[in-house]
Amino acid sequence: MTSSKMTILVADDDRDIRDLVTFKLQQAGHTVVAVEDGGQALAKAREIVPDLMVLDVMMPGLSGMDVTRQARADAALADVPIILLTAKAQEMDVDAGFAIGADDYITKPFSPRELVTRVQAVLARRTR
């Protein structure tokens, strides 16, 4: 597990999930910037260049997949780890997520505790 404080960008149009994820990651010692759609996520990511992004797949406007694709094409964000969070549990969706460059994929219903573990694991992999 990484012990350093990281800046994590969370994007989800569901306020309850956004609050929950924000609280849980703050509790783990990270700084969280939360936004409610894909467009805001991309703009905020370009502004702050977070250490990791947690993106809901189904969001109004740009989806989490769109944001991932655009982030991977952006030199400043290309290496920022991305975890996709979605209700779509089909294997094909998971494959699509990985194919466009997501680092991990968490399907709803999800365990908030597991989310933190996955975030720490992805961060640890990147800082190794």
């Binding site: 309850d16 929950l20 994820v21 609280f23 194919a99 219903p109 999800f110 365990s111 908030p112 505790r113």
Partner: protein
């Protein structure tokens, strides 16, 4: 009164009505906004407790349960949509904590009573939905009874709820609910949500006299990867109903057992209906079985484009032997070449190609036809104008 005066009066009345309507709409919107604001303010007071309930440390959760359990009816009405929403989006401790709040407020008991006792279909459906979302097996029997509810909508919600709960006792009643009009898609999804659907539960439906049952059971067997019924599924490839044969082929692909290969190969021949050939070719590809390579290589030249494309992607998933064939075919000028190039480009885009190419080179494939693994994109034979790598 002159005609002109009557017209003026009518216009005046109409204008007055229009103004009144506009004013009423504005007042309505204002009242509604006020209601939403008040509700949000009420919910806001409990939002902190809800977050702690679902994401807090174990020692914080008890207080949050108490706070939410003691909320006034008005406060609860404001926060309830969030509680119900989270109930289906979180699992583990967070889910258990939400269920504890519902229990403390007596809502689960009330839902059980409403499911069987309410006159209103919407209440029964809402009760079924809540019980499903709690995931508690203690409501399985009531939900199974609700599969026979007089209202079709309640039956559908009960079927979905049983899928969420995942109690194996529900498999047969769910299959029986097909006869009561519950849509096949709902039944399939619900049964697929049940962990380790037993072979014993599926077998009677796989051999049922009603083709609807056989088709659904085959679909479920595939979704549940019920490898124990693979021999039955292979037999079903000869079923008199095309729909059953198609679903059996799809299920065999999902089960991924190599013993399905001969049966699947037999239904990909040109004398079979095209939809069956397409699904069976995809299933063969999903087996990723090296022994299927010669037949998939044949299908690569099939005049049905979908069959040829699936054969190409199947060959790529069969390891270096399959990759060598696709790479060589990519130099053909005809449909076979187009299909092979398309498959290679897709595989390259998804990052699957590089290790395969390395292995294919080691197999001694002609170096002219095998792209250089270090620069696969540049060496790929004749990609279409919109080179996929260039689009990155």
């Amino acid at each position: 009164m002159t005609r002109h005066a009557i017209l003026n009066l009518a216009l005046l009345v109409l204008s007055a009505q229009l103004v009144a309507l506009t004013a009423a709409a504005a007042v309505g919107r204002g009242l509604n906004r006020g209601r939403v604001r008040r509700r949000e303010a009420l919910a806001q007071r409990l939002r902190g407790a809800l977050v702690v309930l679902t994401a807090g440390e174990p020692d914080e959760v008890d207080d949050a349960v108490d706070t939410l359990a003691a909320a006034s009816p008005r406060e609860w009405r404001a926060i309830e949509p969030s509680v119900r929403g989270l109930l289906v989006k979180v699992r583990g401790d967070a889910h258990l904590a939400l269920v504890r709040v519902l229990e403390r407020r007596g809502l689960i008991e009330q839902a059980m009573a409403n499911l069987t006792g309410s006159w209103f279909a919407t209440r029964r459906a809402r009760a079924a939905e809540l019980l499903g979302a709690t995931g508690s097996v203690s409501s399985t029997e009531q939900l199974i009874s609700a599969l026979r509810d007089r209202e079709p909508q309640v039956r559908v919600v009960a079927a979905r709820a049983l899928g969420h709960i995942g109690d194996r006792r529900a498999v047969e009643p769910l299959l029986d609910s097909l006869a009561l009009g519950v849509p096949p898609r709902v039944v399939t999804t619900a049964i697929a949500g049940i962990d380790r659907v037993s072979q014993v539960a599926l077998e009677p439906s796989l051999t049922h006299q009603d083709p609807h049952y056989r088709a659904i059971a085959a679909e479920v067997a595939g979704l549940a990867a019920a490898t124990g019924v693979v021999p039955l599924l292979v037999d079903m490839l000869k079923d008199e109903e095309l729909e059953v044969r198609i679903r059996a082929a799809r299920a065999l692909g999902r089960c991924g057992r190599p013993e399905a290969r001969p049966g699947l190969v037999a239904v990909t021949t040109p004398d079979n209906p095209v939809p069956l050939r397409v699904v069976a070719t995809r299933a063969l590809s999903m087996l990723a079985d090296g022994a299927a390579v010669p037949w998939l290589a044949e299908l690569l030249s099939d005049p049905v484009t979908d069959v040829a494309r699936l054969a190409a992607s199947g060959l790529l998933s069969c390891g270096p032997e399959g990759v060598v064939i696709v790479v060589a075919a990519a130099e053909d000028p005809g449909l076979r070449g187009d299909v092979a190039r398309h498959a290679l480009a897709r595989a390259e885009l998804s990052g699957q190609l590089l290790p395969q190419l390395v292995a294919a080179k080691q197999l001694g494939a002609p170096s002219a036809s095998v792209p250089d693994p270090r620069g696969a994109t540049e060496a790929l034979p004749v990609l279409p104008a919109g080179n996929l790598a260039a689009q990155r």
